[in-house]
């Protein structure tokens, strides 16, 4: 059977889809892609359901090899240097990886998570309606844990067809919007003003459960313990040290720290793509604005197929050039470094 074999992979790389909401009342986190837009783009490029399972690749490099057949893949999300057997591979485009060829990815250049989708999706056994990995709960398919070298993802052999690319609106480099609460009354006006004015640094100990933020401590009015209540994706809880934690899809379903604010749905993926060390600011919006943004985000996802364009042919040209290159040196039409000499002249 055709399959994508994981040749090398860093931590924080796992199969993720739209997640498995519906069992939070039993303590089961919904999980799912950290950046839903990245996942949707990779899938739509291939004609998959927008929230079909794909490989969510963490910040470090990775390599994948096509075995027993050619695969059609698509990359989206955080960009990185990518090549297939030496030929450059573009993000936001489909690509063919021929049998035996390896897709090699560098570290992320901007962001944290890239999405590698497979034509026809990843084959696995859904648990509670999802293939998403939740290692703590022992859930996920084909592997109930993050990916490791040697793992094999069964896939469909590339269908005959042409390659696509997609044109996306530029992601705003704006503050992350929040709705205040549900426990903002546990904080003084000064603490709230500090929360909204501070450029918070994303901590290196952030993960799929939560993003820890570093900045001036936020002081609670009545101590840092509340009676545990339910959490959502984007809940910003403030523990005793006053350093906020934004809860992510693998969060605990309940928590006992006051939640000062909640990131709006449309902006959570953008926050998830903020690398450690980089700073984020928060801006309070009301429910009407948040719902308008959510509708716009849903419209963007729904109309992604309208943004597909035939790949401009450079992929074909690269292949032709590669085949014609008798010396075996990789040449790329879109990477001048491979065909210009040191003086900048074409060879």
């Amino acid at each position: 059977m055709t399959r994508l074999v994981v040749t090398t992979v860093g931590p924080a790389s796992s199969v993720q889809d739209g997640g498995r909401p519906g069992s939070q009342r039993y303590g089961l986190a919904p999980g799912g892609a950290m950046d839903p837009l990245g996942l949707a783009v990779a899938n739509i490029l291939l004609g998959n359901d927008p929230f079909a399972a794909a490989v969510e690749i963490g910040p470090l490099g990775a390599a994948f090899t096509a075995c027993d057949g050619a695969l059609r893949l698509a990359l989206a999300g955080a960009s990185r240097v990518a090549d297939i057997a030496g030929r450059p591979a573009a993000f936001d485009s489909t690509m063919i990886v021929k049998e035996g060829e390896t897709l090699t990815l560098g570290n992320t250049r901007d962001g944290c998570f890239s999405y590698l989708a497979l034509e026809g999706g990843i084959r696995g056994t859904p648990m509670f309606g999802s293939l998403s990995v939740n290692a703590r709960a022992g859930m996920g398919s084909p592997y109930p844990r993050p990916l490791q070298a040697g793992d094999e993802l069964p896939a469909q052999t590339a269908a005959i067809g042409s390659e696509n690319r997609i044109e996306l609106p530029r992601r705003a480099d704006a503050p992350i919007r929040v709705i205040m609460g549900p426990q903002n009354d546990e904080f003084s006006e000064d603490a709230i003003a500090l929360f909204l004015s501070t450029p918070w640094a994303v901590s290196a100990v952030s993960d799929r459960m939560g993003y820890r933020l570093e900045g001036p401590p936020l002081v609670h009015r009545h101590g840092h313990n509340i009676v545990s209540d339910g959490t959502v994706n984007g809940s910003i809880q403030v523990p005793g040290n006053g350093q906020p934690i934004v809860l992510m899809p693998d969060r605990g379903t309940s928590g006992g720290y006051p939640k000062i604010a909640t990131v709006i749905s449309a902006d959570l993926g953008r926050l998830a793509q903020t690398p450690p060390g980089q700073r984020v600011r928060f801006q309070a919006v009301n429910l009407t604005e948040a719902h308008a943004e959510l509708r716009a985000f849903a419209d963007l996802i729904r109309t992604l197929p309208d943004r597909l364009r035939p790949a401009d042919g450079s992929g074909v040209n690269i292949e032709a050039l590669q085949d014609a290159n008798l010396a075996g040196i990789a040449v790329s039409a879109i990477d001048p470094g491979t065909w210009q000499n040191e003086r900048g002249e074409s060879s």
């Binding site: 909401p21 519906g22 069992s23 939070q24 009342r25 039993y26 303590g27 089961l28 648990m127 509670f128 703590r136 709960a137 022992g138 859930m139 709705i179 609460g181 549900p182 426990q183 009545h222 313990n225 509340i226 009676v227 545990s228 209540d229 339910g230 959490t231 959502v232 994706n233 984007g234 809940s235 605990g252 379903t253 309940s254 928590g255 939640k259 909640t262 990131v263 709006i264 749905s265 429910l287 948040a290 719902h291 943004e293 959510l294 509708r295 849903a298």
Partner: protein, 261 residues
């Protein structure tokens, strides 16, 4: 509003069904753009939890289009909704209406009997708890066994069941230093709460024993054994029976018994 942590539970009287005070409307607190916290109180108290469970049950009996899922906790019901399907105002009106019905629907409650091996390697804090409360380990076990518990909520990790109904004489603050790893099936107490922990994980509670019952187990029907609102009593077993039950649980047996309420 009552401040958290100062109000104490009374142990449940089995024959009395406490009436939830339904006169005060709950507070509606948006939790982001796709969920609302329906808050009945700020402390751990029986009345709030009953109203939470009653609203949860009302919503399961008469599903509201646009509600995605509900998560009961001690003092609030978290309602996840799809804002593309229902407007916040319309949802809020429905929730307030259901939450202030003059007579909330009676709780359907099942009762589970859950076996526990107490003390020793299985409950490493039993002796310390007895010392702190100036009594004997046997007395601690007796007080824990006599409790008539209700699953107030599940949360944190899959199957972690928070129980109300702990004997107030077992109330003690959580550990200063939470343990990073406590075993699967841990039976513990913390503050005014009792707990059944399913998966291994961190905990700041006091470990009294272990059960072979897995409140969460994949490839078993049902995957989740306990529901919010279920009643629970414990029964003591020895280490040998615990070991046998562990093997049976591994094979997918429930181990917990459903008993007539």
């Amino acid at each position: 509003m009552v401040q958290a942590g100062h109000k104490r539970y009374k142990p449940w009287a089995r024959t009395v069904r406490p009436m939830a005070d339904s006169s005060t409307p709950p507070r509606l607190l948006p939790s982001g753009d796709s969920a609302v916290t329906v808050e009945f109180g700020r402390s751990i108290d029986e009345t709030s939890n009953l109203r939470v469970l009653a609203l949860d049950q009302a919503l399961s009996q008469e599903p509201v289009e646009g509600i995605v899922e509900t998560v009961p906790t001690y003092r609030s019901l978290l309602v996840h909704y799809d804002p593309l399907k229902i407007r916040f105002d319309a949802l809020g009106e429905k929730l307030i209406g259901l939450a202030t019905l003059p007579s909330p629907p009676a709780q359907q409650s099942r009762r589970w009997r859950i076996p526990v091996v107490y003390g020793g390697e299985h409950g490493i804090d039993l002796e310390d708890v007895a010392r702190s409360l100036q009594t004997t380990p046997d007395e601690i076990v007796t007080r824990h066994l006599r409790g008539d518990y209700r699953v107030a909520m599940l949360g944190f990790t899959p199957g972690w069941s928070y129980l109300s109904g702990l004997d107030p004489r077992l109330e003690m603050p959580r550990r200063h230093e939470p343990r990073l790893l406590t075993p699967a099936g841990t039976i513990s107490i913390g503050g005014v709460q009792a707990g059944i922990q399913c998966l291994p994980g961190p905990s700041g509670w006091h470990l009294l024993g272990r059960t072979a019952v897995r409140t969460y187990q994949l490839n078993r029907n049902p995957v989740f054994l306990l529901e919010p609102g279920d009643r629970v009593s414990f029964v003591a077993v020895d280490a040998q029976i615990f070991a046998e039950q562990e093997r049976a649980a591994e094979q997918g047996e429930w181990i917990a018994d459903l008993v007539p309420s």
